[in-house]
Symmetry: C2
């Protein structure tokens, strides 16, 4: 086994998430990239490689080749910037590649960005593009869009564990409560349990407020070897584990509809790499593309026993003062879900928490944080664990 | 600097390139993947990670998330497989990520694949999708497709160096001569200089036989730590350098139209990493998406002085018996250019050459080989150097 270097996050940047009619794909990416570089107190020429997570550049905007585009527009060429795509886990996978590049000594200072420009097309078109995250030939082509797939998961879960729509709704209420405190969030307002329960059905039992929105946005983090991290502006946060797992791309090929195996495999590897267990995590960003997805996530990550995630949420065990604070960013639900940006935003949010820079949404004494990013209906899961450097 | 492991190619596989009406995206990918795994004499469960280069899965076929899809269809999940995209350099960038994963000790046996399914759309649609490799807002949107961009390069080159259309045509003639010997090539037939010169104009001075075709196809290589490589079926080939550079995505922003700076930067890094110079290379696969591109490549890689690449080609200095044998695979021109597969095919072809397994197109006593993969009009370039293990 080759020796690996310890890797730290030394800078964080976000664009405002939302319907960003004022900005195209490249401009959005710049917004977070420049913010992260400034946060780290770096000059651009100190960066020697980059990764960018993006799902639908080609299908949503006609622009592929984002590595070259962003190296160019960030003024960073000729450094290598590599685009990676893993549907909604594109950002998480990009972070993992950046981590590997620094850990291996192949690169020193690496910018990892994620970006998605989704509002150039109409909702039906975006839904079709997002369907490419699943099995195009066996799901999308036959009409199974993502709300439909997650509705099947929700229905199976409710059947098996007697969970209620109220438990699902509690996820949305909690995440909007958190999102109201987040400067970059798409929806900075609270919603009531009744509002969620009475919202329009999308794919029963999922209603419109059970679903994350279509969003434009970007996020970026700067990575460096931990040994060198202290020479930069901000307190470093160490990435102590990085794991990526896959499962069948089609939902109907899974052994179980009520858990994501890829999450469990990635989490197990990550806890092992970090030498900790689920109970050590103080704050986590998990993939709540739909409310049911957060319930599965907090169970599959080991925070709560299978079948009890909804109840725990309803009881307030996943918010401030609870067992573990889930989605201080507001999650995909309230912060928004610019697909390629999400996994990087999660890392940025956790870095803010562990630095103590999360303002009114700060989790007190947070020592270990976790990010969980899912592609498709669970075909990919990426888990990272970050640690406050003491 | 962390210690790095030496990395070898231990298996190679190709699909047949061409208009593959019989196969969809996933089936094409399997064809090369299974061939490579069998060539290495591996079992699937020995593989612990993968990378796949693909440009237009979403825009050409509606299928993104190829990491999960291919892990699934190759029977390899839950291992992480990551899709990378860098336009026509997607395969080369995928290879570099695989190299880094093994060199860092993060993974041991890694499959690197490349695939593109291009013939599901018509030529105009494909041309538009490929335009996403350039600057969508400043080139494609205004009508500058790739044949147009490379025609501008060719015109500038001819103006500056007095090069002729005959010199361009000589690239196509030579590559078809090579391709006629290649089992997986799309066009296994020779063409005459007159046929090229008399072919229909596409974007003057480029004619149809100056252009690489639209192709379906896939390629895969298996990577392993060199120290462990001897336990597998085939003679290992060492990857002694891996470099990736970027330049402005738009052609009009470049300092020069007659060279690709990204190629020069990547080549310089690669030669330095390998501790050799251009004159040590016996065989190279270079990016001849258009005939002019091969001429630029063999100059920018240091094989011939600037302005003399066309003349050298016409004089037979880039074929068997010449200074360096360029594109024994037939290049993109004759082997075909399934975009995401190309960079991986180049590596597979060089591995065959260095193993001595290239049949009637074998370059005698080949010791060092080079691959050169370009994205867009030069926004990305990736150079790898391979060495026969002695």
């Amino acid at each position: 086994m080759a020796e690996r270097r310890r890797v730290a996050i030394i800078g964080v940047g976000f664009s405002r998430f939302g319907e960003r009619w004022d900005k195209g794909l490249r401009d959005l990416a710049l917004e977070a990239g420049v913010n992260a570089i400034m946060d780290a107190g770096l000059k651009g020429e100190q960066i020697d490689a980059g990764y960018v997570g993006n799902m639908g550049g080609g299908a949503l905007t006609g622009q592929e080749h984002l590595g070259s585009l962003l190296a160019d527009y960030l003024g960073l060429n000729p450094i290598p910037i590599t685009r990676v795509e893993a549907a909604c886990a594109s950002g998480g996978v990009a972070l993992r590649q950046g981590y590997m590049a620094v850990a291996s000594g192949m690169h020193d200072i690496v910018v990892v960005g994620g970006v998605e420009k989704m509002t150039d097309l109409n909702t039906a078109q975006v839904t079709e593009v997002l369907g490419g995250a699943g099995d195009q030939e066996w799901e999308l082509f036959l009409g199974a869009t993502f709300p439909a797939l997650y509705a099947l998961i929700a229905r199976a879960y409710m059947e098996k564990f007697g969970a209620t729509e109220k438990e699902l709704a509690a996820v949305a209420v909690k995440n909007h409560k958190h999102g109201a405190m987040v400067p970059y969030a798409q929806y900075r307002r609270e919603i009531s349990l009744e509002a969620v329960l009475n919202s329009k059905p999308v794919a029963s039992p999922l209603k419109v407020f059970d679903c994350s929105p279509i969003s434009d946005g970007s996020a970026a983090v700067i990575l460096a070897p931990l040994d060198e991290a202290y020479s930069y502006a901000k307190e470093p946060v160490e990435i102590v584990a990085s794991a990526h797992a896959t499962d069948t791309i089609a939902l109907h090929d899974r052994e179980s509809l009520v858990e994501l195996k890829a999450t469990k495999v990635a989490a197990e590897k990550a806890y092992k790499q970090a030498g900790i267990s689920a109970k050590d995590i103080d704050v986590a960003e998990v993939h709540d593309c739909f409310t049911i997805a957060e319930i599965l996530a907090i169970e599959d990550l080991g925070f709560f026993p299978k079948g009890e995630g909804g109840k725990a949420t309803l009881e307030g065990r996943t918010t401030f003062g609870g067992d573990v604070v889930i989605n201080t960013s507001g999650g995909l639900k309230a912060a928004g879900h610019p697909v390629g940006a999400t996994g990087v935003k999660q890392a940025g949010e956790i870095a803010l928490q562990l630095r103590g820079d999360a303002g009114e949404r700060q989790v007190k004494d947070a020592r270990f944080g976790l990010t969980h990013n899912v592609g498709g209906s669970g075909g990919t899961a990426v888990v990272h664990i970050m640690k406050k450097v003491e």
